[in-house]
Symmetry: C2
């Protein structure tokens, strides 16, 4: 596939209306060919109109037809795995091998959503049959299914240029739900974006779907994103990125004449609590494992464990030392963009300004935008006194918090804002303390991990990548895992319908063979 820089609007390649840009190779500082077209509100309007036109037919695709389309996207992604990974590596400074694995996982995720579509449980088909003899008045037949919410605007993320970008989980789950997608490509990896976009575009065409099912737009500043969030034909928005960026889109969407849901996944420090028995038994192992995970993707991960908390006592020094050894050995690595690099340095300095003491760092950076790995430490009183110490530093830094006892550990746990995940390292004698900590974590996190590290992410039925604000803007949903499809569905009741007009999922005789809730009981006949 030769790389061209147009926008993809429906089946068309659309040239620039607002200038052009080239990608930056953050490892060399060089601009890379080709030029990528930039657009604005006109392209957004074009794409949104096509998406709206595509809605009725795409929302009504049969389960098999929709599943086969998602599998074709997966095949097309697999076909460009190496090309996609190499281009993404050029644009992000991340290793090709890691990006090949990321691309494979991205394709696999489309196949998983194809299974979700085939199983049809996402429809939540529910039947309350008529009761003509009921007193004091008969009950009419009521049937409910979930349908797609409408065209969805998706903002590609910067940090995983394949798995959380154009063909990421947001796109896969929105397409699985039956929603056409208008994707705003992230300007940090325009080439990887257009490669993945063309894979989807070609699968739309070869599946015989309406071209409006997928478009990819690109713009220079905030204007194009604002136009997307404001567009009356857009019915939901997803975003993965900073709290500032997410909240700007969220608040803007709430000010529309018709507010729409925005699912923004924003910020999390994923605290790791090491309880005393586990600390004493394997402090060194925990410190090493924590540091290893913290450093993944140059610390540019939503699940980066950024705060390590333990009561001072047996094993504490071993934990601290093991983490320090691993961090000190990790050379500086290129960060995703100059802006992310500069923010990293600034935020790490902010921690020091707030009284955190650096105690380990990797070798001096060689390149301009390399991030130097580092560890800092505070005590529990400091951490409780300054809430900014609990704010995310996006990059390869972590904070160790030395606590005075279990009560302070529980107090510190209560001080956290909403998180994507939290981890407890525990041994059997810690279970009593863990049982006290657990309800505190349940109220603040979307996932609680025992004796492991939150990253990497499984993509399964029980996966939740969400959590109370500011981890996300709506704790009732997840952006990763099979149930992420629920963000884009809304229920409709069909009352007193003749069978001929009922959607297949609700028809008499259950022609699709779905699990349905019939009079309050699950049944498949």
């Amino acid at each position: 596939m030769s790389l061209t820089g147009d926008m993809l609007i429906g089946s068309s390649s659309v040239p620039a209306s607002d200038g052009a840009m080239k990608a930056l190779n953050p490892a060399t500082g060089e601009r890379i060919e080709p030029e990528f077209a930039l657009g604005g509100p006109a392209e957004v309007d074009h794409a949104a109109r096509l998406a709206d036109e595509a809605f009725d037919s795409y929302n009504r695709t049969g389960l098999e037809e929709r599943a086969a389309f998602l599998e074709l996207v997966a095949d097309r992604l697999d076909a460009i795995n190496r090309e996609l990974a190499e281009r993404a590596a050029l644009e992000t400074g991340l290793p090709v091998a890691q990006l090949e694995a990321e691309a494979a996982k991205t394709a696999a995720q489309f196949r998983q959503f194809a299974d979700v579509v085939r199983q049809g449980r996402f429809r939540h088909a529910t039947v309350d049959p008529q009761q003509p003899e009921r007193q004091p008045r008969p009950r009419m037949d009521h049937r409910m299914q979930k349908i797609a919410i409408g065209p969805v605007a998706i903002f590609g993320a910067s940090n995983f240029p394949i798995l959380y970008s154009v063909a990421g989980g947001d796109t896969a789950s929105a397409l699985a739900a039956g929603c056409p997608v208008v994707l705003k490509a992230h300007n940090a990896h325009p080439g990887a974006s257009v490669l993945a976009g063309r894979a989807i575009q070609s699968a739309v065409a070869d599946s015989g779907l309406h071209e409006g099912v997928f478009s990819l737009v690109r713009g220079a500043g905030n204007e194009i994103g604002e136009a997307l969030v404001d567009h009356p034909l857009i019915k939901a928005v997803t975003f993965t990125g900073s709290e500032g960026g997410g909240m700007a889109l969220y608040r803007r969407a709430q000010l529309r004449p018709d507010p729409i849901p925005v699912f923004a996944e924003m910020t999390s420090v994923n605290p790791t609590f090491v309880l005393p028995a586990a600390l004493a038994a394997r402090g060194g192992e925990v410190g090493d494992g924590f540091a290893e995970r913290m450093l993944v993707n140059v610390g540019q991960a939503c699940l980066k464990p950024a705060v390590l908390l333990a009561v001072d006592g047996p094993g504490y020094a071993e934990m601290r030392d093991a983490a320090a050894v691993r961090v000190s050995a990790m050379g500086a690595r290129t960060m995703l963009t100059p802006g992310i690099h500069d923010a990293y340095d600034r935020n790490a300095q902010r921690l020091i300004g707030s009284g955190a003491k650096p105690f380990a760092e990797g070798p001096e950076p060689q390149g301009a935008w390399e991030g130097r790995s580092q560890l800092l430490e505070v005590d529990g009183d400091q951490f409780l006194a300054d809430p900014t110490l609990a704010e995310e530093v996006f990059g390869p830094a972590a904070l160790l918090v030395r606590l005075t006892g279990i009560d302070q550990l529980l107090d510190v746990a209560r001080s956290f804002r909403g998180q994507l995940s939290a981890t407890m390292h525990i041994d059997e004698p810690d279970h009593g303390d863990a049982a006290r900590l657990l309800p505190i974590l349940e109220r603040r996190t979307g996932r609680i991990v025992v004796n492991a590290f939150a990253h990497p992410q499984e993509v399964g039925h029980a996966t939740i990548h969400g959590g109370p604000f500011p981890a996300t803007t709506d704790s009732r949903f997840t952006s990763v895992g099979m149930s992420s499809v629920d963000r884009f569905l809304r229920p409709v009741t069909y009352q007193g319908f003749p069978d001929a007009l009922l959607p297949d999922a609700l028809a008499a005789g259950n022609p699709l063979g779905l699990w349905r809730l019939v009079d309050g009981c699950l049944a498949r006949d």
Copy 2:
């Protein structure tokens, strides 16, 4: 039960901090004893703190314990059925017999939610077991359940003083979900509110639950509601009422430092489409049935069918005449409050000012706040040209729209904003047109009814009382029916947990006998 006018905060009766009020009998214009205490932010803070204190223990109640509590509330409501209905009748002008039935349905709804709790499906228990042999790396055990979102603020509605008020579906579903409730009583029926509130308060106490599970506050102006929406310990809000009121709360909640979900059910004109064959076959029957339902509760119902649309042709005159006969025969009746009465008159005049022609009205009102029933008519071109004709008039008025053909009917259908419901009257020859109308209605409504009238509402598993904006602020949820509990739940994943620390719903061996999604398949073992 003797009626006293305190607020109910936890187990305490709390006197006024901001003056007092008496209820108004809208049929006589007289103020009724006793005085009701008014409070403000201090009472909200007290109630919210108690709700937060109650959260951990209430969220962890066993299914049987929680179900038994909901059934006790039902018993307590049944025990005061007559007293509650009589007091509500005094405060609203609605008939006692109707209110007795409403109170019985309110109690029954608590029993239905008790069943939902016992069945435990609301937990959405999901298990992805570990796969230690998986390549390239093992999968850890992942388990997910939904837990309560936190303390919920509920605004009692004015129009159904029992079923949509203190002990209404919002309260029942929030308590079923495991959320403590802080209820803002509506000042149009303070006596009915405190009677229902004491029923819940006593059930909390006699079930041995933390007193903070339920509180009832009351205030003079907007300040108390604003304090509720702003309170950091409140984690979700529900509201049923006007678009203006709902949107004020919604926008306020989005401006909190931590935005919270607001489910506001606001406005709907519930359009009724009569297709040609059905019109020709039974226009008179449809006109009569439409008018009957329109007049229920003096037209003060969210499901009032307010717009009747048909293509001019055979049966049209019969439909129009039959509706006119019923409306002309309906005497004026007392409306809920003087404010609602005045708004009704003003909004009916607005329709006339926009060119709608009155063609039937009931007898002249006798009382000051009686609403006179009326029918108006416009043609399709007028309706398309003036969107205000599609706005709700809360009260006993409806608009007939005379259309030129099916294409105009479809255009008019596309012009509607989001609706709670829409109705199609169809016969077999209409199925082709109905199939064209259906996707237009699916995108705009939460419920589509065939050959019946939307009111009264079933409370079932397949019930959806929701819809796209401005019917509600979030089309993904419903405020009535068993799945309304989903508004108050959020998912949490437990990864790698020892069985001893897992919640019952996720424990090994499935001790609660729930349906669980295990590796993507529903299972009960």
